[in-house]
């Protein structure tokens, strides 16, 4: 009887979830409410957490509540500190949630709302959440060691090196594409450029306040910072209206790209307390506040989805990026469903805070569920726009033409009607000159968010909401950019330190300047090419980033699968083996197409050859002919980079299989490096708050 009472609510959730999923999947032609998306997602998350994650915790990983965690055993009151699970959850989520789950779904909306939504939900519960949870568990059992160290210790030097190189390259590509998104959001927008620039001095004020004026008063300083940020959003309108001031901030994409590179370099060499740390505080508050606001707005207003379930662009002819539904929807969504980068956080700071192993399920699995939910909201914000408007904002001039009339004619001819007047009115409402070809996802997400917020708080505030949304995206994109540049610098110093020990000293100024400059020129190169590319650059950079990110996830899952097999759990190795197989299939297919496809919008070599043929035939305009050699070189470079990614991926897959086969045949392999069991002494109450 008791069992039945417990089962009934879960049955109801299952029925409701199935109903909501079929409502969004089977709907054709009628407008569907965003509430169905939220319902479907929440029901699937609840079931997965209650049953799958619980089974993983109890049967596969066998979490042990009585076992002391590294935080307890190595407690030093600083980085290793046993912490209450909600606090750890907060830190973990703040670390994993970046701009990825906002941008990926926005771009993937070109296939229609359905494919992206299904992958965000299913990919998370079967892939992303499992990866985060298993890696967090493995690292917790190994004194909070990093993914790279675990790969080296458990698989061998090859795995370790692959993880290190993978991390470094993904960082470079990631920063470039994020920089490009910010540039596209600020291009010829004095308001946005002013607001985004203002975040730098504001962060410095906050930094000085909490370091020297009132040391340690974090919340006080943050409050001042948040108020100043909001003021800068409002202030941007006056800058925009002022004829002399607006020209200072009205800039070409290329100029803004140089500014961002200078900023990235400065952020990597300046002390963290001045820029990085305070900016991170501000971006975390903004992120938490805006995402909560968006969730509340979507749930209360229940906006209608205007995008069709599936568009004809699943055949690979999409204007935002080229490539068929399979495999590119998976590559594009990336972080919202499964993100390799999370495995670095789950084997970094988080396991040093965990006070009990039983919290691993909530923090690892639950944290990723919340990230997936953020991606669902981004998908909603992108698809509440009229499809014609969505494509007008997100299609590069290389695809639809630079002229407004040509662009609307082309987009309308796809079956998504839009007019020049409609776009002009929208731009005026949002306080922008033009919204055509504002690629990268940030402007269309901001328009979507502004229209959701605007219908709740009044249309007259649309321009403010738009620039608030741009500021919100830019501030944490820049946080990832400067934190990433700094981490890249440390990694490079570490690698160079193997050759020349002096270079490895993180505080030796010549080394700091050299390695920072190297890292900035690494991503600066891709950013530069992305900005001058007439197709918008996102078409090239985002798939490259997606491939790199999914490859890192595959590396993490290889480590996880290898360790499961070594620990005698081969019966359960499929929990990581299944998502791993899928990732190998999609990254290899995507990489193969990026290398070998004859479609110039997909294949790098095909595009390079096409461009050199045109250059040789003299059929390019003077302006295009000037940049063509750079673009050709870059396309070839990207192709070789993709080849490199695939080789790296397969090397580590074979290394893992080698370890697995040897284990199963009883041959010697590297020993497990799990720390021995030591009983937990933590009395429940005093340490868990």
């Amino acid at each position: 009887m008791n069992k039945l009472v417990k089962t009934i609510p879960w049955l109801l959730i299952a029925v409701l979830g199935a109903f909501a999923l079929s409502a969004i999947a089977l709907n054709r032609g009628e407008n569907v409410s965003a509430l169905w998306f939220i319902t479907a997602a929440l029901c699937v998350y609840a079931l997965a957490y209650r049953f799958y994650a619980a089974w993983l915790a109890a049967t596969v990983l066998v979490l042990d509540e009585s076992r002391a965690t590294p935080a307890e055993r190595l407690d030093n009151g600083r980085d290793f500190v046993p912490t209450h699970k909600w606090i750890v959850f907060g830190h973990h989520f703040a670390a994993i949630a970046g701009p990825g789950p906002l941008v990926g779904p926005t771009l993937a909306a070109q296939f229609g709302y359905l494919p992206g939504t299904l992958w965000i939900i299913l990919g998370a519960v079967i892939g992303g959440c499992v990866q985060d949870m298993v890696i967090l568990f493995l690292s917790t059992r190994r004194n909070a060691r990093s993914l790279g160290q675990m790969a080296r210790d458990e698989l061998g030097p090859l795995g370790g090196t692959a993880a290190l190189i993978g991390t470094f390259t993904i960082m470079i590509i990631l920063i470039a594409v994020l920089g490009l998104i910010v540039v596209n959001a600020m291009k010829h927008s004095p308001w946005a450029t002013f607001t985004v620039s203002a975040t730098i001095p504001i962060a410095m004020i906050v930094g000085i306040y909490m370091r020297y004026l009132r040391p340690g008063q974090v919340l006080e300083a943050s409050l001042i910072g948040v108020l100043l940020l909001l003021l800068s959003v409002v202030g941007g309108r006056y800058i925009d209206a002022d004829e002399t001031l607006r020209v200072i901030f009205d800039r070409e994409g290329l100029t803004l790209a140089w500014w961002i590179m200078a900023y990235g370099f400065a952020a990597a060499i300046l002390p963290v307390w001045l820029l990085l740390a305070p900016r991170d505080y501000l971006s975390t508050y903004m992120k938490a506040g805006t995402i909560t606001l968006l969730a509340v707005a979507i749930i209360t207003l229940q906006p209608t989805i205007k995008m069709p379930a599936i568009t004809p662009f699943i055949d690979g002819t999409g204007p935002i990026f080229g490539g068929k539904l399979f495999p590119f929807v998976f590559i594009t969504i990336a972080c919202g469903a499964i993100s390799g980068f999370h495995s670095l956080i789950a084997s970094g700071t988080t396991p040093k805070l965990l006070s009990n192993e039983r919290d691993i399920r909530m923090i690892g699995y639950g944290g990723m569920l919340l990230e997936s939910f953020v991606a669902i909201m981004a998908m909603i914000a992108a698809t509440v726009l009229e499809p014609g408007v969505f494509f007008a904002i997100n299609s590069g001039v290389g695809v639809v033409g630079a002229d407004a009339a040509t662009a609307v004619a082309k987009i309308s001819s796809w079956g998504y009607p839009v007019t020049v007047e409609q776009m002009q009115l929208l731009a005026k409402q949002m306080g922008e000159e033009s919204l055509f070809a504002r690629t990268g996802g940030a402007p269309s997400l901001a328009v979507g968010m502004a229209s959701i917020f605007g219908s709740a708080f009044g249309e007259s505030l649309l321009a403010l909401w738009y620039h608030f949304a741009i500021m919100f995206e830019a501030i944490f994109i820049l946080t990832t950019l400067d934190a990433g540049t700094r981490v890249g610098r440390f990694m490079l110093q570490d690698m160079l330190g193997n050759i020349w020990p002096k270079m490895g000293e993180t505080s030796w100024t010549p080394s700091v300047i050299l390695t920072s400059a190297l890292v900035v020129s690494g991503w600066g190169y891709f950013l530069y090419i992305g900005v001058i590319d007439p197709n918008g650059g996102v078409n090239i950079l985002w798939p490259l980033f997606g491939i790199a990110n999914q490859m890192l996830a595959a590396i993490a899952l290889c480590v996880a699968t290898g360790i499961l097999i070594k620990s005698g759990k081969q019966k359960y190795a499929w929990v990581t083996g299944l998502p791993l197989t899928w990732l190998i299939i999609i990254t290899s297919t995507a990489a193969y197409q990026k290398i070998a496809s004859t479609d110039i919008r997909i294949g790098f070599f095909a595009a390079a050859n096409d461009l050199s043929d045109k250059l040789a035939a003299g059929s390019l305009s003077l302006e295009k002919a000037k940049i063509a050699p750079k673009l050709i070189f870059n396309l070839q470079f990207d192709a070789w980079l993709t080849v490199f990614f695939v080789i790296l991926l397969w090397l580590i897959v074979f290394d893992m299989l080698r370890v697995a086969v040897r284990t199963l045949n009883g041959l010697p392999v590297l020993p497990l490096t799990e720390s021995p069991h030591s009983p937990s002494r933590l009395v429940e109450d005093w340490v868990r708050d």
Binding site: W86, I87, H91, P215, V218, S222, L276, D280
Partner: protein
């Protein structure tokens, strides 16, 4: 009502690191009091070390 506000405030302070020094004082009293090797740090000194250490390694993601 009041207690849940207090709870939320405590959570916010803990999450943001606003109470890091208080935490350190508790840790110090428990583990190092009367130990000359680890002199008690002032709030400003402690905050400097805490902040610099926090930013060592990968902290932010995509």
């Amino acid at each position: 009502m009041l207690s849940s506000f207090k709870k939320a405030w405590r959570l916010l302070r803990r999450l943001s690191g606003d109470d890091a020094y208080e935490q350190y004082l508790t840790h110090y009293a428990l583990k190092h009091s009367g130990n000359d090797e680890h002199p008690l740090l002032s709030k400003a000194e402690f905050f400097k070390q805490w902040q610099d250490e926090k930013w060592n390694g990968i902290k932010r993601c995509c």
